[in-house]
């Protein structure tokens, strides 16, 4: 465990993991209440990764996210209220209610979108970072994906392009042990780090439950990448505390036993980081987070839903108006 002067920089990381934790819990409540349609893929248990990675990025650095993306979006600096409004399908949401949980994006803070297709975003982020540098910037990028994604050829093509063209991308694999119900040991031939190394990409295994360990590993990777060292991969070992998707709250799928889940939940990133704060500081942050989220929920639920007449607004950036489906 990396040591920090307690209460000095432990606070911001704690705030982020706590914010994500409580955001997800509120979001699950809103799924149950029918305010979030379609359910969500909860990020519970993996908060240290989003928090640690984004703490090592600059505001103008870029990320892409996944179907399990709320943590990344919050950690990179999107407004929790507009994020929640997005999940509730409101016009005030980050995407105007057009994207929802799996497509939340905020280009103003470098969030180039969550992506619902496993393995797709790696090359997108690589191209985006490459372009930023072409245009004179010195941004780096981080792209999140799961242990399931490393089996997608298109992700490996992203490794290849980033390595070949020395694009400063940090590939962040969140190995939570399962792709939906598929255990990583039955799905991944070889190793995850080995897949990056095959392309000449340095790769390390990181404790994905410890926000500071993730942050420190990311810093190293980011510094190297920004200095021209090309891409890096971090395999963050973690555990998904809750369901693959909230539909599992209703339909029991039998793939992890109770002992394993209990073991997995025993290393809680919120507790790990919380223990680095003095109790008063922690309580103050907790209270502040509750206030932020209370306001976020209120904002989201009070916001208008978009007008169905505008259902195809933004379909074409050029303004082309599509022909309707009936006339």
């Amino acid at each position: 465990m990396t040591s920090t002067a307690a209460g000095v920089d432990a606070g911001p990381l704690y705030r982020t993991v706590r914010l994500i934790r409580r955001f997800e819990e509120r979001a699950i409540d809103l799924v149950r209440a029918g305010e979030i349609v379609g359910g969500i893929h909860p990020y519970l248990g993996q908060e240290a990764i989003a928090a640690g990675v984004c703490a090592a990025l600059r505001p103008d650095d870029l990320i892409t996210s996944t179907h399990r993306g709320h943590g990344h979006v919050l950690a990179k600096g999107a407004d929790p209220a507009r994020m929640l409004a997005e999940l509730c399908g409101r016009a005030t949401g980050l995407n105007g209610g057009r994207g929802g949980s799996m497509h939340a994006a905020d280009f103003s803070v470098g969030i180039f979108g969550a992506n619902a297709i496993v393995g797709a975003a790696g090359s997108i982020l690589t191209g985006a970072v490459w372009a930023k540098r072409r245009l004179g910037g010195d941004q780096v990028g981080a792209t999140f994906f799961g242990d399931g994604a490393v089996n997608e050829g298109m992700l490996l093509e992203g490794f290849s392009l980033a390595a070949l063209w020395s694009v400063p991308v940090v590939f962040v694999c969140e190995n939570n042990g399962y792709a939906t119900t598929m255990p990583v040991a039955q799905a991944v031939a070889g190793t995850i780090t080995g897949r990056a190394e095959a392309f000449g990409i340095p790769a390390v295994v990181v404790d994905g439950q410890d926000p500071e360990a993730v942050r420190d590993a990311t810093r190293e990777a980011v510094d190297a990448a920004r200095a021209g060292g090309g891409p890096r991969l971090l395999e963050c070992r973690t555990y998904r505390f809750d369901a693959h998707h909230t539909f599992e709250h209703d339909v029991r799928l039998d793939y992890r036993d109770a002992a394993e889940v209990a073991q997995g939940r025993s290393r809680d990133p919120v507790e790990i980081q919380g223990a680095r704060l003095d109790p008063a500081q922690r309580a103050a942050i907790d209270a502040e987070v509750e206030a932020v989220l209370a306001e976020a929920v209120e904002f989201a639920l009070a916001s208008p839903t978009p007008d169905p007449a505008d259902a195809l607004a933004y379909l074409y950036a050029s303004g082309l108006r599509p022909r309707p489906g009936s006339a």
Partner: protein, 322 residues
């Protein structure tokens, strides 16, 4: 008679084919635990040698299934989401579909692809809500979209037994449909044969998949104004044009309702195929998704982009005037 759900019918068909033919194997994501329920109970009965969970490598395992078919098996693949067909389009359209002709008849590729829950699932948003059956029909891969439990059963049976690649779309909007079915009457439904769901005199409505039920509801609603015949093609490719012409030849009017994008969709094909052959009493109409549709997340927007009963009603009324 016992009630049978659409999803259960698919599950039963798969189980029956696994029992009947040892060369049938099932591949897909999360099929051991039966996340979608398509494969419920099958792991226990047929074991992990025939109910095979794949890693997330859709292109790889689609080609793998093609190879297995070339070597004598009859793989069935489940895709969890419709856009995975985009991802494996090369593997289906350019590999599986082409082997027979390219090899001069040396090879056959009996693979069935099942999309459990195609179209919108409400809230799954832009990348999970497509209905790309028209793409398969265009390249010429057999394309089935059953509307009822009995057809779901019977068409999946035929698909597995067919010697060519076949894609079966199970629309999310149909998965919950239940019907009274005599289990002893469940049987293979031939590929390429449509069926009249409701007789009528004034206008033929062709409805695809779950929209068959909407079309029937609209027909009832309008019953005192107009006599609507509802034709369910069941198979989009090959299309039962003779069956449809028999209906349109009588009614002289045509409306197609289909939950896919308008341009180059199955609606266009149906209209073109009809007007090439018979003169209509009024211009035909399509009720579809808009051109290039991407389903927005917010519930009301998602619904607004899909064809519904109101638009179908309006189209029928228009055709009756025209």
């Amino acid at each position: 008679m016992p009630r049978l759900s659409y999803l259960k019918a698919l599950n039963r068909a798969l189980g029956d084919e696994l029992a009947r033919d040892p060369s049938v194997v099932v591949l897909g994501e999360d099929i051991r635990v039966a996340a979608s329920n398509l494969t419920a109970g099958l792991l226990k009965k047929y074991g992990p040698e025939r109910i095979i969970d794949t890693p997330l490598a859709e292109q790889g395992f689609t080609n793998f299934a093609t190879g297995a078919a070339l070597a004598g098996l009859r793989p069935v693949i489940e895709f969890q989401i419709p856009s995975l067909l985009f991802l494996v389009f090369e593997q289906i359209a350019n590999q599986a579909h082409k082997f027979s002709l390219m090899t001069g008849g040396q090879a056959r590729v009996p693979v069935t692809y099942v999309v459990t829950g195609s179209g919108s699932r409400s809230g799954w948003a832009g990348q999970h809500s497509d209905h790309p059956y028209g793409l398969l029909a265009h390249v010429g891969v057999k394309t089935l979209v059953p509307a009822t439990p009995a057809d779901a059963y019977g068409l999946l049976l035929s698909a597995v037994r067919d010697d060519d690649p076949v894609v079966l779309f199970a629309p999310a909007g149909a998965l919950g449909v239940r019907a009274d079915v005599d289990p002893t009457e469940l049987a293979a439904v031939p590929i390429g044969v449509g069926t009249l769901r409701r007789p009528g005199d004034d206008v033929t409505v062709v409805a695809v998949g779950h929209l068959v039920h909407d079309a029937l509801a609209v027909a009832e609603e309008l019953a005192d104004q107009v006599s609507v015949e509802v034709f369910d093609p069941r198979t989009l490719y090959p299309f039962d044009i003779d069956g449809l012409l028999a209906s349109v030849g009588r009614t002289g009017r045509l409306v197609v309702v289909d939950d896919s994008n308008r341009s180059c969709g199955i609606g266009a094909e149906i209209i073109a195929s009809v007007v090439e052959r018979v003169a209509l009493a009024a211009p035909p109409r399509r009720v579809t998704r808009p051109d290039g549709a991407v389903l927005p997340f917010a519930a009301a927007l998602d619904r607004a982009v899909q064809p519904g009963r109101e638009q179908l009603t309006a189209a029928i009324q228009l055709v009756m005037k025209g």
